[in-house]
Amino acid sequence: MPVAVKTSWYYILLALAAGDSHGLGIAREVQDLSDGRIRLWPAALYGALQELNALGWIEQRHQLGESEKRRYYRLTRAGRTALTAETSRLAGVIRIARARTKPRAGETS
């Protein structure tokens, strides 16, 4: 059975699709991507990262340089597949939604 992708997961995957990032960076990126509608608070973010890690969709590595202890996250192949699958599923939903909410003939908007 495919795992259901939560909205916050989707945004996190989307944020990582642009490149590796650390927790704070992901939180900011998600906020930007969602026009400020999704603000991930620490426990929600790291909870999600932990779960995504367990699913093998992202992997975690330490990057030296900027800050020694910072943990960076990278999208794995499996993660990218999941993101693509979810995107096409959403696209399908949107197609249906558009068709259903189209103004009917005779109705003025």
């Binding site: 704070l24 608070w41 426990a43 973010l45």
Partner: protein, 888 residues
């Protein structure tokens, strides 16, 4: 708060979250949170607080998610867990049953706190939080006029003013005016007095209510010569017509005039007060009309506020000022509907909220201290369970279950007790509570109770219990078996809790004492009139009486007949008539005295209490004459000289420095008003309530201007309440169409005028007593625990030759020093808090020495008494047993 504090606090908060997350990501999480917090701080304090709230919710949410996720384990595992839950439950029940006393104590304290909070929260909820039962209630505003120059906050509205606003305003979707009125409704079966209102036809448009049957009267019917029609409230319709639709078209005799019934409106529209029927206002924009008890209500256009509306009305008022009120005496004001009707309760509500908040904190501290002591005493048991392989999680879960059971019991009992107490309170308060307020149990009250009990037990029960079992197994085992005392950390926490409880109890006790003293002081104010054996009721003659000699004579003849009839009844010592009896209504008028300098512009003219009274009124009501004479039957005869009796405040205000005003003259404001001579000078009475100052007042002979509605005061030889039946029969014999209105003894009237003060003085006294009991329970429990922990130490001391008295003293000293610290802190805080109460204290100083001394002395003495048995028991310990204690 500095960043360091923020970091610490967040770390603390993280402890509430799932451990795996914390261990792995604590630093990263903290970094993200601090970034968020810094962002929020830039947007102000509120945003920062919101950030903390969000962070806490985030962590608790994660905890819940993790808890739920652990359920998604394979089938077998799940089964095993369910089994364990069952055994945990059984174990917990058994354990709670064994610890019957402390379980009952915690549950009792919790339910007490919750019950008190529910009562107060329900009051506040009904008065402030629950909206009026109308569409978009926040857009409804109350409109009236104020006249600071007349010393009147609210004067009522004249129809021409209202009509002008209705035409000129730019802010209201609809605006309507009403006047509360009472009607004599008579039919074949007798006469009844019914509360109703004259309203303009747009009233339902403002409230957005629709008639359930028939229609509302229309604009044509709402004109000076329109047809007589009436709209009934649903309640009256069901009562009188059994809810039948054929009521429409029937007529109702109101004030002896038939009115055609055109519609029925739902009960919610019985606003304000208790208007049970509506008749058209029939206002005439061309006639000046008089001020009175009118009010107006408006529905704002979307997006506007009461302040906008007031500005707009003041703009339209300019034309009225120019035309007929050049001194700008009267000006309109606008308030939100809730602001208007809940205004009177704001101080009391705030006081009660604070008091109950303190009580709740005391209850929580108590729950915490008992649970902590219990947990500390169980460290050994927990240690053993851990040692033989129980997981920490399992023990935590079992402790949690214990607290959930206590919370459920405490919450349920508290909810029931609170409901019951609220009912009791509302019955006692009687008509002090506004009719529109609905005190029923709503989702908010229940939610509040559930939240309270859950938070209290988890925060104050589970957390300390977890705290107690933390640390390693060996430590826990050793501490109780080897060492002489329990952990110093736990003991210190317990002492701090008891100190806090006593500090808070002191605050409540001092404030309760002050309010009670103020209440006592108010009760002993001399009202200036007789309270015992006086019965009052109103009689209203229906019909229009013009301002002419003929109708004056007719009215006077009726009132004279009434007095004669009642005087002839057996057991009657005196009968008097007046328009406004003490603690009743106010009828204001304006007077000038002879030779007074003209008032400076802008200087307010004092309002004078105007009272036509019969000659017998003064004796009946026991009003004391200072000089001159009282009225006789000859005073006020047409053609005779006009006379008047003034009170002390009138003399002081208009003739300062004059000892005896008898013989001086005064007259009304018009230039043609006739002069009246003062023939009598009487003492002030507390007309407006025992706490209120008196206004200038005067009495006129009834014959000079007899009103159509009067209060009849009857002084009886026996119990006045037993006289009610006789009075009713006598009035019916005089005129069967007349109902007897508001029959009450003066004693009852006085009690009612004090009801509000009585109510919250008693509430606060009850809260103080509850806090006291809780605090005493707290110190008892903690002392008992400390003694049980020190059993070995005491044994050693006794073995080394300490006397029993020394042991008793040591135990008492320890517990009393904890209590004393709390009391001292509490006294200081109480004086500060009492200052906020100043306006309710009726002159009792917030630092009243006696009250402070009583509170401090009483608390310490009672704490000593409560701890005495424990101390004695400690002293009687057999050293041999004591030394063995804790080993086995």
């Amino acid at each position: 708060m500095t960043a360091r504090h923020g970091r610490r606090l967040y770390r603390g908060l993280l402890r509430l979250g799932p451990r795996s997350l914390r261990q792995r990501y604590a630093d990263d999480m903290e970094e993200l949170f601090l970034a968020r917090l810094a962002e929020a701080r830039c947007r102000g304090r509120l945003a920062a607080a919101a950030a903390w709230g969000a962070a806490a919710a985030d962590i608790v949410g994660a905890r819940l998610r993790y808890a739920l996720r652990t359920r998604d384990v394979p089938h077998l595992e799940q089964e095993r867990r369910a089994f364990m839950l069952g055994s945990d439950l059984r174990y917990t029940m058994r354990w709670l049953g064994r610890q019957r006393f402390s379980t009952a104590l915690v549950t009792g304290m919790l339910s007490l706190g919750i019950a008190a909070s529910i009562v107060v929260f329900s009051l506040v909820n009904a008065l402030f939080l629950r909206p009026f039962p109308f569409d978009d209630p926040e857009r409804l505003v109350y409109i009236n006029e104020t006249a600071p120059k007349w010393n009147l906050e609210i004067v009522g509205i004249t129809y021409p003013d209202f009509d002008h606003w209705r035409r000129e305003n730019k802010v209201f979707e609809a605006v309507a005016m009403w006047n509360e009125d009472n009607f004599n409704l008579s039919d074949a079966s007798g006469a009844e007095r019914i509360a109703g209102g004259s309203v303009t036809h747009d009233f339902p448009d403002v409230l957005r209510v629709r008639p359930i049957v028939g229609r509302m009267f229309n604009a044509e019917e709402d004109t000076p010569n329109g047809p007589r029609v009436v709209v009934l409230s649903e309640g009256l319709w069901r009562e009188r017509f059994g809810g039948r639709e054929d009521a429409l078209g029937q007529t109702l005799r109101l004030n002896s005039t038939p009115h055609a019934i055109v519609g029925v409106i739902p009960n919610v529209a019985m606003f304000p007060g208790e208007m049970r029927l509506w008749v058209p206002f029939r206002g005439n924009p061309a006639r000046a009309g008089s001020y009175g008890s009118q009010g107006a209500i408006g529905r704002l256009k979307p997006g506007l506020t009461a302040a906008d509306a007031e500005k707009d009305l003041l703009r339209t008022q300019q034309a009225i000022w120019d035309a007929r009120d050049r001194d700008r005496v009267v000006s309109p004001f606008v308030r939100t509907l809730r602001g208007q009707y809940a205004r009177d309760f704001r101080t009391q509500s705030a006081t009660l909220l604070i008091a109950v908040g303190i009580l709740l904190v005391v209850a929580c501290a108590n729950v915490a201290s008992v649970m902590l002591a219990r947990a500390l005493a169980r460290r050994r048991e927990m240690g053993i369970r851990l040692a033989v392989g129980a997981s920490r999680g399992r023990i935590a879960r079992q402790l949690f279950l214990e607290n959930v059971l206590i919370a459920a019991a405490g919450g349920a009992i508290g909810l029931m007790a609170g409901r019951w107490a609220l009912q009791l309170l509302l019955t006692t308060a009687g008509d002090q509570v506004p009719r529109w307020a609905n005190f029923g149990l709503d989702i908010r009250v229940v939610g509040f109770a559930v939240l309270m009990s859950v938070l209290t037990t988890i925060l104050f029960g589970w957390a300390p219990a977890l705290h107690a079992i933390r640390g390693n197994v060996r430590g826990a085992m050793q501490e109780t078996s080897g060492g002489s005392t329990g952990g110093p950390g736990g003991r210190r926490t317990l002492a701090a809790l008891v100190t806090a409880e006593f500090a808070l109890a002191t605050i409540l006790l001092v404030c309760g004492g002050l309010l009670y003293r103020a209440y006592d002081r108010v009760r002993h104010v001399d009202p200036g009139f007789r309270v015992e054996n006086v019965l009052t009721f109103s009689v209203a003659l229906p019909g229009d009486f013009g301002d002419n000699d003929e109708s004056r004579a007719k009215l006077y003849a009726f009132w004279t007949r009434l007095v004669q009839r009642f005087e002839a009844l057996p057991g009657v010592d005196g009968v008097g008539l007046v328009n406004c009896a003490p603690l009743g209504c106010h009828w204001g008028s304006f007077y000038r005295v002879e030779g007074a300098p003209p008032r400076k512009p802008g200087e307010p003219t004092p309002v004078t209490l105007y009272r036509p009274a019969s000659p017998g009124y003064f004796k009946t009501m026991g009003i004391r004459l200072k000089s001159g004479r009282l009225f006789t039957d000859d005073d006020g005869r047409p053609g005779g000289g006009r006379v008047v009796i003034v009170n002390e405040t009138f003399a002081r205000t208009f003739w300062p420095g004059v000892a005896d005003p008898v013989g001086r003259r005064l007259r009304g404001m018009g230039d043609t008003a006739p002069w009246m001579t003062v023939v009598g000078f009487v003492q002030d009475i507390k007309h407006y309530g025992l706490e209120q100052p008196m206004r200038p007042g005067l009495y006129l002979p009834l014959q000079q201007s007899p009103p159509s509605t009067l209060v009849v005061a009857v002084r009886t030889a026996m119990d006045p309440a037993a006289f009610a039946g006789t009075a009713r029969a006598a009035l019916r014999a005089l005129n069967p169409d007349l109902p007897l209105i508001g029959l009450r003894t003066m004693e009852q009237t006085l009690q009612r005028s004090l009801a509000q003060r009585t109510l919250y003085s008693w509430l606060l006294a009850v809260f103080a007593a509850m806090a006291l009991m809780l605090a005493l329970g707290g110190t008892y429990g903690v002392t008992a625990y400390l003694v049980s922990q020190r059993t070995r130490e005491i044994g050693i001391r006794v073995a080394l030759g300490a006397r029993r008295a020394d042991i008793t003293r040591t135990v008492l000293r320890t517990s009393l020093s904890i209590v004393g610290a709390g009391v001292i802190a509490g006294l200081a805080a109480a004086v500060a808090v009492a200052r906020l109460l100043a306006e309710m204290l009726f002159g009792v100083p917030p630092h009243d020495g006696w009250i402070l001394a009583y509170a401090a002395g009483g608390l310490i003495a009672m704490a000593a008494a409560v701890n005495w048995p424990t101390a004695r028991r400690a002293a009687r310990l057999d050293p041999v047993t004591a030394l063995r204690a804790g080993e086995g």
